[in-house]
């Protein structure tokens, strides 16, 4: 039995603000993070999983590239601060992992797994959402398959191009990244 699938937030929408604990327990607020920068929200299902580990480390290896185009990286999952803290230290992470145990942030962005048949139900889907300095959603990538990794080069190029485009919410649309699922349009 499938419940109604969540619809990911659309490109051009206002990004829902949030305040939640980071991996050291510090309160992290999106609207403060975007101060002069864009933020790539990296939603992933679970700390300690090997796909999640691969993905998070891949983004870390590209952190300088993202910073060069003015993008800050932030990871998010439903894991508690306890888990985030140890995992972050274990991986030597240089960006924050936000703890969203009730999945409220994921729900606000339409990337909470609510499928009754999914072993991932109640956790975040694997998703990437780019929020610009004006708290506007500029790029969305999401998949229902927790084993699927994004194509990192395409994602970087798509984020870079999305930020280069003039801000025109009505006209902007999710870029099709070849071979990968792209957010539904509202």
């Amino acid at each position: 039995m499938k419940s109604e699938a969540a619809i990911p937030i659309a490109v051009g929408s206002k990004a829902p603000d949030f305040t939640a604990p980071g991996d050291q327990g510090e309160l992290t607020t999106l609207s403060e993070l975007v101060n002069g920068k864009s933020v790539l929200l990296i939603f992933y299902p679970q700390d300690w999983g090997w796909v999640c580990r691969t993905e998070i480390l891949e983004f870390q290896s590209r952190q300088n590239d993202y910073e060069a185009i003015g993008v800050r990286l932030v990871g998010l999952s439903t894991n508690l601060v306890v888990s985030h803290g140890v995992w972050s230290e274990h991986l030597n992470l240089r960006f924050t992992l936000v703890s969203d145990p009730p999945g409220q942030i994921a729900e606000a962005y339409g990337v909470l797994d609510t499928d009754e048949d999914s072993f991932n139900k109640g956790r975040t889907k694997r998703a990437l959402i780019l929020v610009d300095q004006e708290m506007m959603v500029r790029f969305v990538w999401v998949t229902d398959d927790p084993w699927l990794e994004p194509d990192y080069d395409s994602i970087f190029n798509a984020c870079s191009e999305a930020l280069e485009r003039s801000v025109s919410p009505k006209a902007s649309a999710a870029r099709i990244v070849e071979g990968y699922e792209v957010a539904s349009q509202r």
Partner: protein
């Protein structure tokens, strides 16, 4: 550090290490060599084989050394299946086997075999009657574990082995968790093949053994120089094999007292945790349970954070099996018991060894309620 993760691996007994050390450096010979160094190594392997055989009531010729429990399960299941294909193509196993058995069976399905995965009851037991009903004229192998690695359920292997024998099939049991924690006798328990591993009983990692009853039709799955009488080619891990022999001897010597001691600690943890913490459930049975296994499910608690919080307090535990600790998928064992995906997330396995004591259990029980409560608050529960 209080080590309560002995289902994952056990600390190497220093007496085992002492026996192993000369075979890494001084007695480094290849057991296949004719010179004195080689003969010395060959003797050490045969002495270890005798020790392993004695611990399960087998003859030394029926023991084959491998790289571990997983390889032993693979040789047993694939080796029997491919060697007996002319007799039949059906294998019976159960839903809560270790992945070394389950994934080997899935591979055999791809190779054209038919596999029945029997369900288990709410405590993880496989019924011998269900095995009997599943038997067909094509059944060549029944593979049911002696004891489950996650929830500690001890299966009625003697009865299942009898059913297999009566139906003309071979009976294999994965005894990786059971060895040293319950008496096993291959004749009495109707076992044709039995897989074991050294590192679960205070021996070294990277070595295991497979018991194969005399006159069993089996073929190798790895080909090469013909070591282990052609069944498992590859130069023997002499130091590891010596360590396995030493470890199994030591564990067998004190097994009766160790079982009694660990059962006492196990029951103390189960009874007191159930009484002092709300929303905690025991997975697996109260009786016919491995003497060293406790497995709880906590409502509204994230298992990983529970393990990591206890780790910060100096207590090593697990969310389930070591193999699944870094998997995001729910435990197939808990799912087979009827738990929902979300219920599988609050799991904690405490697995003891013979060196644990009551003081360690006291400390664990003194900190557990607060840890659970803190995590529930953090999760907004």
């Amino acid at each position: 550090m209080i080590y309560f993760d002995n289902g994952a691996t056990t600390p190497l007994d220093h007496r085992v290490l002492e026996e192993m050390l000369p075979y890494n450096e001084v007695h480094f010979g290849n057991p296949s060599s004719l010179h004195a160094l080689g003969r010395n190594a060959a003797n050490a392997v045969e002495t270890a084989r005798e020790k392993v055989a004695r611990s399960i009531g087998a003859r030394p010729r029926e023991v084959f050394f491998t790289s571990g429990g997983t390889e032993s399960d693979n040789i047993a299941i694939q080796g029997v299946a491919f060697a007996n294909r002319s007799k039949g193509d059906h294998i019976i196993t159960c839903a809560i086997e270790h992945h070394a058995v389950l994934n080997t069976c899935r591979f055999l399905e791809m190779a054209g075999f038919k596999v029945t995965y029997l369900p288990v009851d709410g405590e993880g037991f496989v019924s011998p009657e269900a095995v009997k009903e599943a038997m067909t004229s094509q059944t060549i192998l029944v593979s049911i574990m002696a004891a489950n690695n996650e929830i500690g359920t001890i299966q009625p292997i003697r009865e299942i082995g009898k059913v297999a024998k009566e139906g003309g099939a071979l009976f294999h049991t994965d005894a990786v968790q059971a060895m040293g924690k319950m008496p096993l006798d291959v004749d009495r328990d109707n076992i044709d093949l039995l897989a074991m591993s050294a590192h679960k009983l205070h021996g070294p990692k990277g070595v295991g053994a497979l018991f194969i009853k005399k006159n069993t039709t089996i073929r190798p799955i790895v080909f090469g120089g013909g070591q282990e009488r052609g069944l498992r080619s590859s130069t023997e891990n002499v130091a590891g094999i010596v360590g396995m022999g030493a470890a199994i001897s030591l564990v067998t010597q004190s097994m009766v007292e160790d079982i009694e001691m660990m059962s006492g600690l196990r029951d103390s943890i189960i009874e007191r945790a159930l009484a002092s913490i709300s929303g905690v459930h025991l997975n697996g049975p109260r009786s016919q349970r491995l003497c060293n296994n406790v497995h709880f499910r906590f409502d509204r608690v994230e298992g990983e954070s529970l393990v990591l919080s206890l780790d910060k307090l100096g207590i090593a535990t697990s969310t389930g099996s070591a193999c699944s600790s870094r998997s995001i998928e729910p435990s197939h064992v808990l799912r087979a018991l009827g738990a929902s995906n979300e219920q599988c997330r609050g799991s904690l396995r405490i697995s003891l060894n013979r060196m644990n004591d009551a003081d360690e259990v006291e400390y664990f029980l003194s900190v557990l309620p607060q840890v659970v409560s803190d995590l529930r608050s953090m999760a907004g529960g």
